[in-house]
């Protein structure tokens, strides 16, 4: 049975060989170990032998031809007159395209297969020679790096990424990851993580200030650090242990946000009159040592508007909605590490000056952390004002159990159209968050309309 005689793999590194000469001719009889051809490889010229007795039936590669290892160079058979047409057809198919040859060679001669596959990769990096012989093709970039669809950019070998095994041992190597602001032992880091102790708040007692296990354990026992110490310039991520207040805020707001179906109503108030009113008031009242802020005016307007529309001064209950008999107005106050909402009780019944004085006192007590629980629990409606911080418009999260909160934006001058003409006016946007279980859209709008009356006609606040 005739078979292909293939270019031998003379050494592990050999990819192909050049046929220097045939020592046998077609039709010659062969015995095992007969030298049939001479081949030049990457290392040396070598004799190519057969290891079967038979006949050289057909030469498939001519002298001077370079042939990949594992590819047929001849057909040999046991008898002189074997039918080799099928093998010839197979060989013709191989010559037609590289793919079948590669596929056939693959199980036997890996380098040959790799070589056949190589042009696919080379095409990505090396421009094909241009058809115009007059144009010198641009120099092919060195095929040192390629980009693959997988996103790999780096050196390759035979079309495959060359890497240093880092992928296998856990992600891309980034030296920055290894830099630590705080020296600490592995054990100290583990314990710090378990105990929730931020390492950069721990003084290290080890060599070079290394934080050790004992340091972390000592820090975990110590009282929480003072707020004043907390501020640090931004750099790497840091862990800031949650204070009780922060935890309370988180849980209350999350509860509120997830519990109440809310919607938002925004109104834009004309404040020219309010600004003029305050200027006049402060000029005339300064002798009394009183100073009224826009916030005071807004708070009083909200309180009075709630008195007019008491359906909005309410809270949801499964069996019934509570409409509060008193307007107890919560005022959001920012603290260094959180916020608190002290309450002005019966705010609608207060005079402007009373309200201003009470507000001032409450804010001071809040900042000094001197509020008693009854001073900040049970607001029937709340106001959060970020206007003084330049926020034009925002929405606030309900402060339970109250069904409404008003987010007050900045009072600012802007172009306005008055009586068909463009002018400059003082404007302020407020957004009411409504618990839809209690306050419907029209009801909320009624409240905002009442509020508009008081803001835009501030003299009403003092009647």
């Amino acid at each position: 049975m005739a078979e292909f005689f293939k270019m031998p793999q003379a050494s592990p590194t050999m990819e192909s060989g050049t046929l220097n000469a045939w020592r046998k001719a077609e039709g010659d009889a062969l015995v095992s170990q007969d030298v049939v051809a001479e081949v030049e490889t990457d290392k040396a010229a070598m004799d190519v032998e057969v290891f079967e007795a038979g006949f050289l039936l057909k030469i498939l590669a001519q002298a001077g031809e370079e042939v990949p290892a594992g590819r047929p160079i001849a057909i040999i058979g046991k008898s002189k007159d074997e039918d080799i047409s099928a093998l010839l057809a197979e060989f013709a198919a191989m010559k037609g395209g590289a793919a079948p040859a590669a596929a056939q060679a693959a199980p036997v001669a890996a380098p040959a297969a790799a070589q056949a596959a190589a042009p696919v990769v080379v095409a990505e990096v090396a421009p094909k020679p241009t058809a115009n012989p007059g144009v010198v093709p641009p120099a092919a970039p060195a095929p040192a790096t390629v980009s693959t669809p997988g996103g790999y950019v780096g050196p390759t070998w035979r079309g495959k990424p060359l890497h240093h095994g880092l992928e296998e041992i856990g992600g891309t190597f980034t030296p920055a990851k290894l830099r630590r602001a705080v020296r600490s032992s592995p054990l100290a880091r583990k314990i710090a993580e378990d105990l929730g102790v931020p390492l950069d708040r721990v003084a290290g007692s080890g060599p070079n200030g290394r934080v050790l296990r004992a340091d972390v354990e000592a820090a975990a026992q110590a009282p929480a650090p003072q707020a004043a110490q907390a501020a640090a310039p931004a750099r790497a991520n840091e862990l800031v242990r949650n204070s009780k207040m922060r935890k309370l805020i988180a849980s209350r707001l999350k509860e509120s946000y997830l519990d109440a179906p809310t919607f938002f109503l925004t109104a834009n108030f004309d404040c020219d009159a309010l600004v003029a009113f305050r200027t006049t008031l402060n000029q005339q009242a300064s002798a009394k040592g009183v100073k009224v802020s826009f916030n005071d005016l807004t708070l009083l307007a909200v309180a009075r508007a709630l008195a007019e529309v008491p359906e909005c001064n309410a809270a949801w209950g499964e069996e019934s909605i509570t409409r509060f008999g008193s307007v107890d107005l919560g005022v959001a106050v920012a603290l260094e590490d959180g916020l608190i909402t002290p309450i002005i009780r019966g705010a609608d019944k207060l005079s402007l000056l009373q309200l201003a004085a009470q507000t001032k006192a409450l804010v001071e007590r809040a900042r000094a952390r001197k509020l008693q629980p009854e001073e900040y629990t049970g607001a029937t409606f709340s106001v959060s004002n970020l206007g003084m911080m330049g926020i034009e418009h925002f929405t606030a999260i309900l402060n339970p159990p109250a069904a409404g909160i008003l987010a007050v934006g900045a009072l600012q001058q802007e172009p306005v159209v008055k009586d068909g003409a463009l002018g400059v006016g003082w404007r302020m946007r407020v957004t009411m968050t409504c618990d839809h279980r209690v306050i419907d859209g029209a009801l909320g709008a009624r409240f905002l309309a009442a509020l508009r009356q008081l803001i835009e006609r501030p003299l009403l606040l003092v009647v």
Partner: protein
Amino acid sequence: MALIPIREALRAAMREEMQRDPSVFLMGEEVAQYDGAYKVSQGMLAEFGPDRIVDTPISECGFAGLGIGAAMVGMRPIIEFMTWNFSLVAYDQIVNSAAKIYQMSGGQYKVPIVFRGPNGAAENLASQHSTSVESLYAHFPGLKVVTYATAYDAKGLLKSAIRDDSPVCFLESEMTYGMKGEVPDEEYLIPIGKADIKAEGSDVTLVTWGKQVFTCQAAVETLKSQGVSAELLDLRTIRPLDREALFNSVAKTGRCVVVQEGYPFSGVGAEIVAQLQEHCFDLLDAPVLRITNRDVPQPYATNLEKLVMPSAERVVTAARRVLGLER
């Protein structure tokens, strides 16, 4: 229970095994008529005769190879090197034949052989007679490397080594042959591959083996007087390493000093440090330190030699450093 020197414990191990198994024989330079260069085999020629207690020419490669061939066909040779320094002319026999035959024969040929003799430095023997060879043999899968500190361990481990079906390099110490220890009258074996806690402690683990156990014992006492509780782990077997005992001790203390005779570079201590950082990274509270011979060929002069060897003072300093008590 008898109080006997280590050389007698070793002799007792060999005698018991030779009485038990006729395929065991002892071969080496001066082991028979001379009674052993260090008198370990004293009297054994009279008991077992010249076919089983065999004097050799100075031909380590020749008789190490002979032992391997005999082991392949079912004998259990004990090949004594007068010192392990001389084993280096038989190195090819031990690492290319003894260590590999079982594997490269597909498990057909076992090589139950013990190579034994004194290892490491004695005193004032200069560079060629002071080598610690454990890392040279522990490098090779296929070899077991066993050593001891006490007479009790010496006897129990040597008996196990002689019964082992794999080649064992059994490392002794010229300095401790005369050191006495309690050995039970009844027969016992100590399994190969099991470390032993020679002193329990909680602050730092001292890992060592062979005669450096005594250096570390002195260090443990000093540390105790300074309020430091050191655990002393005697590996006893270097390969296969008792990783369980090693990791458990370091897990307990979080700190470790490896005390190793011989050169630091690619020493057994380096392997232990590597294993600890691979497997115990998050259990360590400080880098693992090594106390080894200084990285020079052994000098002859007494003052220089003392400088080269591990000492209790060096071990104490290292322990205090990993504890952050010293910089």
